[in-house]
Symmetry: D5
Subunit: 96 residues, 10 copies
Amino acid sequence: MLFQVEMTVNIPADLDPEIAADTKAREKAYSQDLQKSGVWRHIWRKAGLYENTSIFEVRDNEHLHEVLMGLPLYPYMDMKITPLCRHPSSIREDDS
Amino acid sequence: MLFQVEMTVNIPADLDPEIAADTKAREKAYSQDLQKSGVWRHIWRKAGLYENTSIFEVRDNEHLHEVLMGLPLYPYMDMKITPLCRHPSSIREDDS
Amino acid sequence: MLFQVEMTVNIPADLDPEIAADTKAREKAYSQDLQKSGVWRHIWRKAGLYENTSIFEVRDNEHLHEVLMGLPLYPYMDMKITPLCRHPSSIREDDS
Amino acid sequence: MLFQVEMTVNIPADLDPEIAADTKAREKAYSQDLQKSGVWRHIWRKAGLYENTSIFEVRDNEHLHEVLMGLPLYPYMDMKITPLCRHPSSIREDDS
Amino acid sequence: MLFQVEMTVNIPADLDPEIAADTKAREKAYSQDLQKSGVWRHIWRKAGLYENTSIFEVRDNEHLHEVLMGLPLYPYMDMKITPLCRHPSSIREDDS
Amino acid sequence: MLFQVEMTVNIPADLDPEIAADTKAREKAYSQDLQKSGVWRHIWRKAGLYENTSIFEVRDNEHLHEVLMGLPLYPYMDMKITPLCRHPSSIREDDS
Amino acid sequence: MLFQVEMTVNIPADLDPEIAADTKAREKAYSQDLQKSGVWRHIWRKAGLYENTSIFEVRDNEHLHEVLMGLPLYPYMDMKITPLCRHPSSIREDDS
Amino acid sequence: MLFQVEMTVNIPADLDPEIAADTKAREKAYSQDLQKSGVWRHIWRKAGLYENTSIFEVRDNEHLHEVLMGLPLYPYMDMKITPLCRHPSSIREDDS
Amino acid sequence: MLFQVEMTVNIPADLDPEIAADTKAREKAYSQDLQKSGVWRHIWRKAGLYENTSIFEVRDNEHLHEVLMGLPLYPYMDMKITPLCRHPSSIREDDS
Amino acid sequence: MLFQVEMTVNIPADLDPEIAADTKAREKAYSQDLQKSGVWRHIWRKAGLYENTSIFEVRDNEHLHEVLMGLPLYPYMDMKITPLCRHPSSIREDDS
């Protein structure tokens, strides 16, 4: 089941640089593990912004919640979540 | 070059049903041709809505403009357009 | 899987009264069938408004889409859709 | 009498972790007491967000006010409150 | 139990003048009956606008819903509804 | 001359508790003096919120400005101000 | 007593041109009479828009309401109304 | 050339009181000098708010920019700027 | 003196095609005359939208008003107008 | 390929003045280098505001992202980004 998740990152200017660097490193590792396992299907940077558009494939809403709450940068993020489904004009069977 | 395009379709209730059906059929054919040629990379329906989230791969802004203006349903659509680029956390080289 | 769906109904003033009455009757029957089958778990009227807050239990996003698109009043409705999950403070195991 | 209450929780990043943990524990106990007594009829987590949708059954507006003001996390919450009533299409007699 | 109701009236320019005049006359009679019975406690015109701020005293949400749905001008109105309660600084015991 | 004033109170979490308590006490006294003199005609709490809807009867805009600027909690308030007048449907001669 | 009134004019494209021309002529005469009598103190066009910013000097809210409701173009206008008072930094005693 | 400038003042609660008082005194002197020279044509307080509506007469956009950037309170202000011109219904030749 | 003008074009679907075509042709000629004379300094299409961003160089606000009101498509346009001035970081003396 | 970028600068009041001055100096140098190389085609100050409207000519979205992320003031800026293309009414071949 697919969800579009748009994330905006707002790291406070006064966050300790070491904590910031460590959190970003853990975020990257977390994201890449989920990409490899097929849960985080797509991630694109919005040009010129600390924002991304992502597509997740999860078992259900509960699974989506767990995955997002596990993001190391979650406390500094705003989230916009949209449930998706296959489009009738799509030529592909899988995630279109 | 990738763009996220979010389309909301508002077909007026008083549009002639034959014109509406014909326009939708041409829209579907137009979309599928662009999907086959790789320009319309993804199209997902937003669940419960006459809206879609699409990813286009185009040569440049001009190309995006031509592709969108050619949509048979364009006169009944609202568009939100966001330029995308590769995300540094992506594990994929292509469209991530 | 639960979704909160908030529906706002805008029936145009110039809709033929017979068509309006028939559509509302079919809407009510459609809603009650889905309530009996457990898909439309809750429906509340917002006091003073032609709006409702509903809770749906569906198999997945696709199922939600089909159920909502089947609403006889769908062409006259605005929809706000929110995926839900169990709350950690809930004392109930089912839909809380 | 039913009310829909949508709560968004914003715990400041610099809140003392012990105070935060204690407040959350008291919030959970408070919520569960009200669920057991039937006042807090439903509580759902919005997937991926620190937000919930709740349904309260209270004697009157005054009662609703007291119950919400008693929330240990109230100082960190935004509230959206909507009075509800039975929907004419509902098949249930109680809270639909 | 008190509710603040803010009403904005948008009578379409092409409404038959006789129907418009008749509807306004019925609206006025309906409002004055409810004022005499104490249900419609206050009504003020917003200066320069076809809008009013009203205070209703009703038994419950259901009662409020019935009263508002009975307004002859309801189809041409937008409504904003806010449940009220006594203010702790008020010097009055009744509706303050 | 009547004005509707909607006040939202945002006392910062880090305000010294003694100062906060003293300011609230002065606010209550100030409000009650104005209620007794007939200037602050009505004050209602919005259920579940640190907000109120108030009706002021003042000589003119200047008088309204002075009264509001004198509020001990003014620095922590957002204000929405609407000039009111008698409604043609009102059955009362005074403040309706 | 001074009020700032910002007016946006939306004359429908299908209004009979004679009615439109007559209404605009009456609007101009009405405005100039009020300017001569000192009630309509200032009127400025917002550059590039069918909008104006005006300053009215009226006896009270009721007077403002009557003046605005008398505008021949009122049915095609949106209004934003702001009560003004003398500014403590002003060097003038009268209207600024 | 005339501009409408709407200023909202947000002086932070923790600004040193001496600095605040000095800045306000300099703001008043700066404003009054510009009023005397005819650049700051009008200034009105919005009743009940730390906001003003002002009319400036400047040589060009550059001049407006310099005048506003020179405001001692500028760092604490939000600005809304609207270019104005003479209204065709105005009876006055100067700033109407 | 420079102004940024953002224009959104909404030609109604039921406009007579001949009138539409004629109006667009006159719009193009009008725009190109102003470009040649240096008044309409820049015009860019927003990709995928019937919107443009334009830069005008005019004598004053009055001149801007006349130029925009003369647009054949003006009745179908929404306008957002922003006065510009030279930027201190610009390396160019003219319109930068 | 052209992009319109609207930047709003919010330098926090408590930023160390030396750091602020140094960052602004580096911003200016960075901007002027990009102007000289033709990437930052235009920059205009919005009159009365710490905001600018800029036009960038870049190879692609990736290039735009790099250029904007390199801005020394980026952490204090909000960005609004719009892809542009040549307008059919433009008389110029290059950036119109």
